[in-house]
Each structure stands twice: as structure tokens, then as C-alpha cells.
Amino acid sequence: MARLYRAALTLLLLLCGCAKEQDNAIHIGVIAELTGDIPAVGASCKNAAEMAVKTVNDMGGIDIGGKKYVVKTQIEDSAGRADQAASAALKLITRDKVIAIIGPNASSGAIPASEIAETSKIPMISPWSTNPKTTIDPKTGKQKSYVFRACYMDSFQGRVLAAFALGQLKAKRAAVLYDVASEVLKGQAEVFKQTFEEKGGTITGFETYTTGNKDFSVQMTKLKNGSPDLILLPTYYSDVPLQVEQARRLGITVPILGSDAWASHDLLGLCGNNCEGAFFSSHFCSSSTAPGVKKFVDDYNALYGSVPDDVAALTYDSFGILFEAMKRAAKPASEDIKTAIQKINGFQGVTGNITFHEGSGDPEKSVVILQIKDGDFRWFSDIKP
């Protein structure tokens, strides 16, 4: 029994253990989904965060108000769960004394964490949370002032996809299959449907499945029955190959359109030839020849042996935004950094030009449409808001 008490006490002490302060270091917290149901997102986020910080420190750190600071990151796991995202955020703020937080990526973690960031007055940038509610205070309906995101929202993406389908692909009859358990994908599918129908198109099938399902043959057979001339798959890239393959097996040959959830380079390997010719909207184009993007992709590849996905790019840009704001801030304080982020205008990130408007945490940036061609992602067009 005594041993048990001692063990509990040791644990408590561990929990209360204090971080040593270094006066020329600034601490940035990262909350990533390292375990749980979207470990790939967490892994990319962690990789990009470590790389972003290394790049800055290799250049001698960051210059704030005439003084050089070394950047230190503390990466916490949210396990993809709301409660752990909240406790990670509080730990970073109260224990590790971070002055800003990057993450969480999944909206289910970003929403509770944003609530904490807002009340603690610590700026938070979520690289990947596309849920509109992340940056909005649900009680007042106003924008939160300390919460930002590096991506555009799914409603915008849904509208862009509908316009692209009708305009560039000349589709009249579209069928949709989406993951109902994902808020993001559901939002994209619904906005697409609404916009597509408003602009004169017909939705011939609107099917769903739940995360974890791997057999889509039933839904595909139903979709095939409506003889669409386009299929929209707002689904995660790990499901896309299965869906496309099953569609092909059923003899479906119409163009396939996807959303940003496709944007992992693994998709190319996973899909084989089946995805050739498909379009999808994305945050960035890894095969871009723009110098900033190319350097990012090459560095990432050199470090981790893979092409960065959109989460990695958005995390990298989140750090970019943060560093940019820090440089402009007078001192390394959360309040100054927040104000500086709000004034970011035309930041040249790997995912495009990012501008924040006063009083909004949602950036203004364009959607990239990519096509899978010759086994790679090819830039197809940019659609501005």
C-alpha cells in the first residue's frame, strides 16, 4: 500500500515538475494527433513543425525587437480526442509557458483548444481545421481574436468545386460519396450539392459512409445506377484508392473530382493508375516550381524521405505566419504576436498568398486545383476567392 502512495506521489510531482526557463528562448507549443484515428495527420504536422523550427534556428534564431531568440517547440499528442486536446493546450500554456500554439489539426480538437487559447489570450493557429466554428465564439457569434487558421474553410472549397465542375468540366449530373463521420467532408459535400443545384446542375446520387468502412461497392453500385457524368469524392486520401478502384471495377469511367482531403502524396502510390486524370482542390501543389515551394518540398524530402502533404505544408505555413508576426512584434509577448498576425498581408507561404483581415482569424487565400497526371500532382488552375 505504502508503495502505491509513493508511486502516486512521484507521479504528482512529475505532473507538477517545472520547466527551466532560458531567457533567450521562446517556446511554441504544437498539438498534433500523434495517436488515435488520424495518426498520419499528426505525423506530418510533427515533421513539418520540427523542420520549420530547425530552419529558423539554423539561421541563428528569430529576431524580435532587435534581440535574437532561439525557438523551442513542445509537441503534445491530442490522440485525436477533444478532452486531450484541451488538456494539452492547458499544459502548454500553464506548464511550458508557450507564447503561441500551432494546432490541433482536427476540428474536434481545435474547437475546445481554441476556447482555451482565447480565454488564456494565447495566439493559436490551426493548420488544418476547416470547421467555421473553430474561429467563432459560439455564444456571441463573433470572431475569436486569438484564434487563426492557415487553411480556407470547407464551405469555400465546396463552392469552388461546384463552380469548377460546372464550368471547367462541363458536368451536368454529379454524384457524391462522402464520409459522414467527418465534419469537414460532410460540409464540403453539402455545400457542393447546394451550389451545384443552385447553378443548374443535377445531383444524381448523394451517398455516405462512416470512417472505418472499407467496402464502398454498395454505394458505388447505387451511384452508377444514377448514370452521373461526374463523381465527387470528398473523402480521405486513404479511402480514395478503394473508392476509385471499386468504381473502376464496376465500370465507372466518368471524371472524378476530389477535395483537399486527397492531398497526400501517398495517394499516388495507393491509387496506382486508377486515379489518373482525376482533379481535386488542394491547399498547395507539391510539384510547383516556385522557389519557396520547391525548397520546402526538397528539404522535407531530404529529412523525412517523403513528399510533404497538405497538413505538412499548412503546418509549415502556420509557423511561417507565426515567425513573420514575431519579427514584426516589438517583444516576444502573446499580445504583440496576436496583433501582428492580424496584420499579416500577402504572406508568401508554400500554400499561396495569405492575408488576414482585422477581426477575423480566417485567411484570404486561393484554392489550387490539381490534376493527377503521369503519376504526379500537376497544377491545373488557381481559383481566387
Binding site: L34, T35, D37, P39, A40, G42, A43, V180, E207, T208, Y209, T210, G212, N213, K214, D215, S217, V218, Q219, T221, K222, N225, S238, D239, P241, L242, E245, R249, L250, G251, D266, G269, L270, G272
Partner: protein, 291 residues
């Protein structure tokens, strides 16, 4: 018509995969009355072994499937030896919780090593046959045929061989069996080997049909296969096959007839209703009360 036939084929494919995983549950339950909640994760390990064997070692199909089965079987027997055997005399629930813990461990261990989903290369060249709008793929046919073959084989082993009768005897009385000269530990290990091996085969078949695999893939399908085993009558091998097919059918029909959003809802509600009327499952024998 072709539409209905197509959906029927989908149902067969899904059902046979469920059935073959459900078999693993039912075998272990039949012998030890233990719900082996780690079984879904053995299935996942089977799929990952299939991935390793095919994409890293470039082995041919039949060796891949044997390797996956053997690997899963070895893991199954190891887990039994290390985690379940010490608990054979303990309350049954402790063993079940241990199984749950082992499952979570295997998932997260795999995840810590490989957080990204993996793509399994095409093991066999897929040929699609088209009959009047009905598309049949060779992979579908292989999956259904293979699972029917395996189940028939298992049924034969359990019903007609010495080992089979030892397994059946074990499910009745574990304490007196050693007195009859039956090596209980060996038979239990054999049961686990077969059950887990089937999980490995199911993992390979699954990876053939749905070639993207991730460390969490075994959770949902494992729970569902468990439900299939119960619906068929847990402990009954033929019941597991039947249960797998029924679950596959219910899920397919629910998705066909209604918005597929409600697939899980409808499928599980129907299963619950079925259990109200057949509480011991379709082929399950009610446990006789010993007063």
C-alpha cells in the same frame, strides 16, 4: 436486375470476410469461453504482414497469404501463452479485459512504427468480367471461393479429426480432459493458431479487396465480426459463417434500401431485434442450466 445481382455479389464478398474473422472469435470462445477482443488486431497484423511480404519482399501471392497466416498464428499463440494462459483460472472478465488491452497494445505499437496508411500492391492481376451490366471481378471470386474452402476445411478438422474432437471436448470440461491424456495446452495453442491464422488470411484477403491498410483497421471490423459470431451463435463454426453472411447482407440491404448514412444504425438495430428473438444466436445452443 443486374443491379440487384451486383449488390448480391458485394454482399457475398463482405459476408465472407466477416465470416472468416468471426470464425477466429468463435473458435477461441468455443474452447475457452473467452472473447478474444485482440482478434481484430491480429487481422490487422495479417494485413500488415501481407503488405510487408508483398511490397518489401515481393513474394508471390500464395507465399504472401501463407506468411500472413503463419505470422498471425505465431502472434496469436504468443499472446495466448503470455497473456491469456496465466489468467485461465482467473475470472473470465479479467481475461477479456486483458484481450482488450493486448488489442490496444498491438494497434498502437503498429501505429507508433507506421503512422501512415499503407498501400498493398496488387497481388493478383484483377480481371473484370462483364455480363450484361453485371461486373464480376476475379478478386471477388477468389475471396469468396477461398473463404468457403477454408471454412469447409475447418469444419472438417473440428468434426472429423482427433484434434477437432479434443477441441470440442475442451469446451465442455477443461479440468478433466488432462486426465484423459489430452494435452490441453497444446490443443488451446492449436485453437489459437488456427483462429489467428484465419485472421491473417482474412487480413490478406481484405488487403486484396481493399488495398489501403492502417493500424486501426481491425477495430471496427473486429467488433462487427464479433457481432456476426454472436448472431450466428457464438461457439458454433457454421454459425460464424452464417452470421458473417447475415451481417454482410444486412449492411448491404440497409445501404441499398435506405440512405447509406443510416447503415450502421439499421444494421445494429436489426441485429438487436434478431437477438431478442434468438438470444443464443441462430445456430447457438442454449446453455443448459445446471441446478
Amino acid at each position: 436486375m443486374a443491379y440487384i445481382a451486383q449488390q448480391f455479389l458485394n454482399m457475398l464478398q463482405l459476408g465472407s470476410i466477416y465470416a472468416i474473422i468471426a470464425l477466429g472469435y468463435t473458435m477461441v470462445y468455443g474452447v475457452l469461453s473467452l472473447i478474444n477482443f485482440a482478434h481484430g488486431d491480429l487481422f490487422m497484423v495479417g494485413a500488415f504482414l501481407c503488405f510487408l511480404a508483398s511490397s518489401k519482399l515481393h513474394l508471390p501471392f500464395y507465399i504472401v497469404i501463407l506468411a500472413a497466416a503463419a505470422g498471425a498464428a505465431v502472434l496469436g499463440v504468443t499472446v495466448e501463452r503470455l497473456a491469456y494462459r496465466p489468467l485461465r483460472e482467473a475470472p473470465k472478465v479479467s481475461a477479456i479485459i486483458t484481450a482488450l488491452g493486448v488489442g490496444v497494445f498491438i494497434e498502437n505499437f503498429t501505429l507508433a512504427l507506421s503512422p501512415y496508411p499503407r498501400h498493398v500492391p496488387e497481388l493478383l492481376h484483377n480481371i473484370s468480367y462483364n455480363f450484361n451490366g453485371l461486373t464480376i471481378s476475379s478478386i471477388q471470386m477468389i475471396i469468396v471461393a477461398l473463404s468457403v474452402l477454408l471454412m469447409a476445411g475447418l469444419d472438417f478438422i473440428v468434426r472429423k479429426t482427433r484434434y477437432g474432437s479434443a477441441m470440442r471436448a475442451l469446451s465442455w470440461d477443461m479440468r478433466t480432459l488432462p486426465l484423459m491424456g489430452v494435452p490441453v495446452n497444446a490443443i488451446v495453442a492449436l485453437t489459437f493458431a488456427i483462429g489467428a491464422g484465419f485472421g491473417g488470411v482474412a487480413g490478406t484477403m481484405y488487403a486484396m479487396a481493399f488495398p489501403v491498410i492502417d493500424p486501426y483497421m481491425g477495430i471496427m471490423i473486429g467488433w462487427k465480426a464479433f457481432i456476426a459470431a454472436v448472431v450466428g451463435g457464438i461457439g458454433s463454426i457454421r454459425g460464424a459463417m452464417l452470421g458473417g453472411c447475415i451481417l454482410g447482407a444486412v449492411e448491404t440491404i440497409a445501404a441499398v434500401a435506405l440512405p447509406s448514412t443510416y447503415r450502421d444504425f439499421i444494421a445494429f438495430t436489426l441485429l438487436l431485434i434478431l437477438l431478442i428473438f434468438r438470444p443464443n444466436g441462430i445456430l447457438g445452443v442454449p446453455k443448459t442450466l445446471k441446478v
